[in-house]
C-alpha cells in the first residue's frame, strides 16, 4: 500500500469479513454498471517525494523573479519570518472550522483577536471572522446593503473602484437581480455631485467607493456619508488594510460597512492567493453580516471562553434564508495577519506605511524629473500612483521586464506604480535609470 494508506493485507481481510464482503469491489455493488468507472485514470505515474520536488523546482525555474513595482490591489510587502513558522503549527493548519469549542480555543481565540484588530484598523465596531478576498468582500457588502435596504435594489459603484472588483460585483449583481450604476469621477476622484444626483433618483441601497482608489489617490470623502444616509443608503468603503495604519479610517469617513483585502498585511503574492478579505460594520448591522463571528462567553467552569456566535445568520442553520452562502473562509490567513499585526504592532504598521509612502513619492518625483512622465492626476496619493509616459508604454513596460523589473501595471493608457517598504532606494534608482533610457 502507498505510504498514506495504513492497511495491511491482514487488516483488509479482517475488515472485509466484518463488513461481510469478499472483495473491495463489492463495496460498490450498488453502483449501476452503466456509471461505474473501470478504466485507468489518465494521470501521470506516481512520483516519489524527490521526483515531486524536482518537478516543482523545475516549474518554479520557469517563473521569472522580478523586482515588484506593481500593485493594483496586490502588494509586495515584507513577511516576518515568525509567521510561516507559526502557521505551520499543525494544530492550526490541520483543524476544521471551530465547531467544537472545547478543543478549538486556539482558533477561536485568534479569530477574536483578528476581529478586534480589524475593528482597531478600520475604526468600525464589529468584524466578522474573514472573507475570501477583497473583491468578494465587496460583493458581500453589496448583498448585505440590498438585504438591509428592504425594497431599495440599486447599488452605486464609483468609477475609481478597481475594475476587477467591479467585475466581481457585476457578476453577483446580475444573478441577484441587483441594479448597479457607476458614479462618475472628476480628476481621478469620485464625484460627490454625481453621487447626489444618482441618490436623488431613489431606491439606492448602498454606495461603494475605494480608498485609496484604483489610481492610488486618497480621495476627499467629506460629505459622502451624509449624502448616503440622507437617502437611507449604506455607505461602503473598500480599503487596502495596510493603508489604514495611517490614513483616515472608514469610520472617520462615516462608513456603515468597511471591506477590503488584507493581503497587504504581509501575505505573499503567490500568483493571486490565498489572501484574506475583511468585513467590518456598525454594531447596528451585526445581524445582517455574512460569515462566521466569534464571541466571548463562559464555560461550565466559569472560565472565559470563545465560541462561534450569532449562527442563526448562517447557511448551516438558515439554509436558503441565510445572509450569505459563505461557509469556509480564510481562517489560516486571518491568523497570518493577526500574527503580523501582533509583531508589527501600533508602531511597526505605521512605520511600514510611512516607508511605503516615502518610497512611492520618491519614485514619482524621480520619474517626473526624467521629463518623460506626467502624473495623471495631481491629487494626494498613498503608495501607488498613475503616470503617463511620453513614448510607447508597452515598449517601456517590456524594457523594464527585460531588466528585471515588474514596472507597475498597465492601466488607463498609463502605468500604475506601487512601492512598499521592501523597495530600496537603489532599486528605485535603477528602475528610474532604465525608464529614462
Amino acid at each position: 500500500m502507498y505510504k498514506y494508506f495504513p492497511h495491511t493485507d491482514a487488516d483488509l481481510q479482517q475488515m472485509m469479513a466484518a463488513v461481510g464482503i469478499k472483495s473491495l469491489d463489492e463495496l460498490y455493488a450498488e453502483v449501476p454498471d452503466a456509471v461505474r468507472f473501470r478504466g485507468e485514470y489518465n494521470l501521470p505515474e506516481a512520483m516519489s517525494e524527490m521526483e515531486v520536488r524536482q518537478l516543482f523546482n523545475q516549474l518554479g525555474s520557469q517563473n521569472r523573479q522580478l523586482t515588484c513595482f506593481a500593485g493594483f490591489g496586490v502588494y509586495d510587502h515584507y513577511t516576518p519570518s515568525v509567521i510561516p513558522q507559526l502557521l505551520a503549527r499543525s494544530e492550526f493548519l490541520t483543524s476544521y472550522t471551530p465547531y467544537q469549542a472545547e478543543i478549538s480555543q486556539g482558533t477561536l481565540h485568534y479569530i477574536f483577536e483578528y476581529q478586534s484588530m480589524m475593528t482597531m484598523l478600520t475604526g468600525m465596531e464589529v468584524s466578522n471572522a474573514s472573507m475570501y478576498d477583497g473583491t468578494t468582500a465587496a460583493a458581500e457588502a453589496m448583498m448585505m446593503a440590498v438585504a438591509a435596504g428592504k425594497k431599495a435594489n440599486k447599488f452605486l459603484i464609483s468609477k475609481t473602484v478597481n475594475p476587477k472588483t467591479r467585475k466581481v460585483l457585476d457578476t453577483y449583481a446580475l444573478h441577484q437581480g441587483i441594479e448597479t450604476a457607476t458614479i462618475d469621477a472628476t480628476d481621478g476622484a469620485t464625484s460627490l455631485e454625481h453621487l447626489k444626483a444618482l441618490l436623488a433618483e431613489g431606491s439606492v441601497a448602498g454606495v461603494l467607493v475605494q480608498q485609496p482608489n484604483v489610481y492610488g489617490i486618497v480621495e476627499d470623502l467629506t460629505g459622502f456619508a451624509d449624502a448616503c444616509h440622507d437617502s437611507k443608503a449604506l455607505f461602503v468603503i473598500d480599503s487596502n488594510a495596510a493603508s489604514l495604519a495611517v490614513l483616515k479610517t472608514p469610520a472617520e469617513w462615516g462608513a456603515d460597512i468597511a471591506v477590503g483585502d488584507a493581503q497587504s498585511l504581509g501575505i505573499p503574492m503567490l500568483f493571486g492567493g490565498p489572501y484574506v478579505g475583511y468585513m467590518c460594520c456598525t454594531q447596528k448591522l451585526i445581524r445582517k453580516m455574512p460569515g462566521r463571528i466569534v464571541g466571548m462567553t463562559k464555560d461550565s467552569r466559569g472560565q472565559r471562553a470563545f465560541v462561534l456566535t450569532l449562527q442563526a445568520r448562517e447557511q448551516h442553520i438558515r439554509r436558503q434564508k441565510a445572509t450569505s452562502n459563505i461557509c469556509s473562509n480564510q481562517s489560516l490567513m486571518a491568523l497570518f495577519v493577526t500574527i503580523y499585526m501582533s509583531l508589527m504592532g501600533k508602531q511597526g504598521l505605521k512605520e511600514a506605511a510611512r516607508l511605503s509612502y516615502a518610497g512611492a513619492h520618491y519614485l514619482c518625483d524621480e520619474l517626473l524629473k526624467t521629463g518623460h512622465f506626467k502624473l495623471t492626476y495631481d491629487k494626494p496619493f498613498f503608495n501607488e500612483f498613475h503616470v503617463k509616459y511620453d513614448g510607447d508604454t508597452d515598449t517601456l513596460y517590456q524594457r523594464l521586464i527585460e531588466e528585471g523589473f515588474l514596472g507597475g501595471v498597465r492601466y488607463d493608457d498609463g502605468l500604475l506604480f506601487a512601492v512598499t517598504e521592501k523597495r530600496t532606494k537603489e532599486e528605485i534608482d535603477n528602475l528610474v535609470k532604465t525608464a529614462a533610457l
Binding site: 502507498y2 489518465n42 512520483m47 492550526f92 472545547e102 474573514s130 475570501y132 466571548m296 513619492h361
Partner: protein, 471 residues
C-alpha cells in the same frame, strides 16, 4: 501544555514601547511625510509585543486546538484526511511565492503550467471537460456552478428557469448558494431508503418543468448512500431542459469507482481541501474549482480576479502526483471500507436508520437506548475527553439525533478499533453513569461553553470586552 500568562489575549500581553519588528531606515529624506490632513486622528490601538512573546502566545494557543495531526477526526462530510507535509513544502517555494498575479504571462510559465496540469488531472478524475479555479471555497464553487447554469439558460433565452431542485438531505450551502444566485429552491423528499424519492422528483418536474434550472445533489448523498437511481434522475432532469449539478463535497469515495461526468452531471465543484488533501486551516483557505461539460465553458462567470487560492492548487497537484494513477483509485475503496467497518461494529448500540452498504460516511440517529436521556451532543462532547474529535452532529436534518461519521482512507484499523471501543464505552456510560456523559467534556482545556450567553449579548472584540469591564 498551556501556560496561563501566554494564553491571555495578545492585547493583555502588550506593553507600551515593546517592538516585535525591524524595518530598514528611511533613506528617502525627511521631505516625504504623510500630510496630517490625510491621517487618522488616533493610532490603531494594536498591541505592542516583543517577538518571543508573540511566538509563545500563538504557540500556546495552538496547543488548545485539535487537528488531524493530533488525532482521529471523524467529522462527517468534511473529509478530514491527512495533509501531506511535502505539499506544504511545495506551496512555500519562493519561485512561486513572489509572483505578482499581474505579471505578464511570459514570466509565469511555471505557475501557469501548474494550473494547466491540475486542470487536466481533475478532468481525468471527473470526466468533465474544463475547470475554472476562480472559486475560493466549496460554497463559492457551488455559487459559481449555479451562475454558469444560469448564464447557460439566459443565453438560450430561458429566462424563466429560476428554480433549483435540492434534496432535503442536502448540505446547507446548497440552498444558500442557490439563493445567492437569485434562484428559488424546491425540495425533493428522501424516501425511507434514504435516497431521493424518484416519484416525488417526477412530480416536481411535471409541475415546474420549464422553470427548473438545475438539480443540485451530491452522490453519495449526505447519508453516505449511493443514489442508485442516478441515471434515471439525470434523464428526467435533462429531459425537462435543466442541468445536473454535482456537489463535490462527497467526491472522496468515488475516486476509483465513479466519475461525475459519467453519472450525467454537467457542472460540479471539487473541495480541494477535502478530496485532494489540502489542509482545512481552521476554516479555510480551501478551494472550490468548478468543472463543466464541453460547451459550457463560455458560461463560466468572473467570481474572482485570478486563479483563486493558487497556493491550495499547488498542494492538490503535489498530492495527485504523489499518488499517481497507480494509487489514487485506492482512496475511495479504503475510505469506504473504513466507514462500513465502523458502522457494522457500532450498529448494535447506536441507531442506524438506514441499513446496508454505505460509502465514505454514514449517519446514526443517536444511541439505540435513549432512555437515559443522553443525546448526540453529549456523546460528541464525551468523545473529546477520550482524545477524539466529534463527528458532525445534528446534520443531516432528516433525523433528530444525527451523528455523521466519516473516517478517511488514512486511518488505520488500530485507530478505528480504538475509536469503536470508546464509542461502545460511551454507550455503556450512558446507561450506567449518564450524568458523567451529560456534563462532558471534563478533560479538555475548557468545559462546555454557554452559547446562549454569547448570542444574547454579543461581545466580539477586545474593546467591547474592556468597555464591559468598566461598567
Amino acid at each position: 501544555m498551556n501556560n496561563r500568562l501566554y494564553g491571555n489575549l495578545i492585547f493583555e500581553l502588550s506593553k507600551e514601547g515593546r517592538k516585535g519588528y525591524s524595518l530598514p531606515k528611511n533613506r528617502f529624506g525627511g521631505q516625504y511625510d504623510i500630510p496630517k490632513e490625510l491621517c487618522r486622528k488616533e493610532d490603531a490601538s494594536l498591541p505592542e509585543c516583543d517577538e518571543l512573546t508573540v511566538v509563545r502566545h500563538y504557540t500556546n494557543l495552538s496547543t488548545d486546538n485539535f487537528g488531524v495531526d493530533t488525532g482521529f477526526y471523524p467529522l462527517g462530510s468534511c473529509t478530514m484526511k491527512y495533509n501531506p507535509k511535502l505539499n506544504e513544502e511545495m506551496a512555500a517555494l519562493p519561485q512561486f511565492q513572489n509572483l505578482h498575479p499581474e505579471q505578464p504571462a511570459e514570466s509565469t510559465h511555471g505557475a501557469q503550467a501548474v494550473v494547466a496540469l491540475l486542470e487536466r488531472s481533475l478532468c481525468a478524475l471527473t470526466g468533465l471537460a474544463h475547470f475554472t479555479f476562480k472559486p475560493y471555497a466549496g460554497a463559492h464553487g457551488e455559487l459559481t456552478g449555479l451562475m454558469t447554469i444560469d448564464n447557460y439558460h439566459r443565453a438560450n433565452g430561458d429566462m424563466q428557469r429560476r428554480k433549483v431542485i435540492v434534496p432535503d438531505s442536502a448540505h446547507g450551502t446548497n440552498p444558500a448558494s442557490a439563493a445567492v444566485c437569485g434562484m428559488e429552491i424546491i425540495e425533493v423528499k428522501s424516501g425511507t431508503d434514504g435516497q431521493i424519492d424518484l416519484a416525488h422528483l417526477k412530480e416536481l418536474v411535471a409541475q415546474h418543468g420549464t422553470e427548473v434550472a438545475a438539480m443540485m445533489m451530491t452522490n453519495p448523498n449526505t447519508l453516505g448512500l449511493f443514489e442508485t437511481n442516478i441515471p434515471e434522475i439525470a434523464r428526467v432532469i435533462h429531459n425537462c431542459g435543466a442541468l445536473m449539478y454535482y456537489d463535490g463535497a462527497n467526491l472522496n469515495p468515488m475516486l476509483g469507482a465513479c466519475r461525475p461526468g459519467d453519472m450525467g452531471f454537467d457542472v460540479m465543484h471539487i473541495n480541494l481541501h477535502k478530496t485532494f488533501s489540502t489542509p482545512h486551516g481552521g476554516g479555510g483557505p480551501g478551494a472550490g474549482p468548478v468543472g463543466v461539460r464541453e460547451g459550457l465553458q463560455q458560461h463560466l462567470p468572473f467570481v474572482s480576479p485570478y486563479h483563486g487560492n493558487f497556493g491550495v492548487m499547488m498542494r492538490a497537484y503535489a498530492y495527485i502526483l504523489s499518488l499517481g494513477r497507480e494509487h489514487i483509485a485506492d482512496v475511495g475503496r479504503l475510505a469506504t471500507l473504513n466507514a462500513n467497518y465502523i458502522k457494522e461494529q457500532l450498529k448494535d448500540v447506536y441507531e442506524l436508520p438506514v441499513n446496508g452498504l454505505c460509502c465514505h460516511e454514514f449517519v446514526f440517529d443517536g444511541l439505540k437506548d435513549k432512555s437515559s436521556g443522553v443525546t448526540t451532543m453529549d456523546v460528541a462532547k464525551r468523545l473529546l475527553d477520550y482524545g477524539y474529535h466529534a463527528p458532525t452532529i445534528y446534520f443531516p436534518l432528516l433525523f433528530h439525533e444525527s451523528m455523521m461519521i466519516e473516517p478517511t482512507e488514512n486511518e488505520s484499523k488500530d485507530t478505528i478499533d480504538a475509536f469503536i471501543a470508546v464509542m461502545r464505552q460511551i454507550a455503556e456510560e450512558a446507561a450506567t453513569i449518564p450524568e458523567k456523559v451529560k456534563s462532558a467534556p471534563h478533560d479538555t482545556p475548557i468545559g462546555r461553553v454557554d452559547d446562549v450567553l454569547a448570542a444574547k449579548h454579543p461581545i466580539v472584540t477586545y474593546q467591547q470586552m474592556e468597555a464591559e469591564k468598566q461598567q
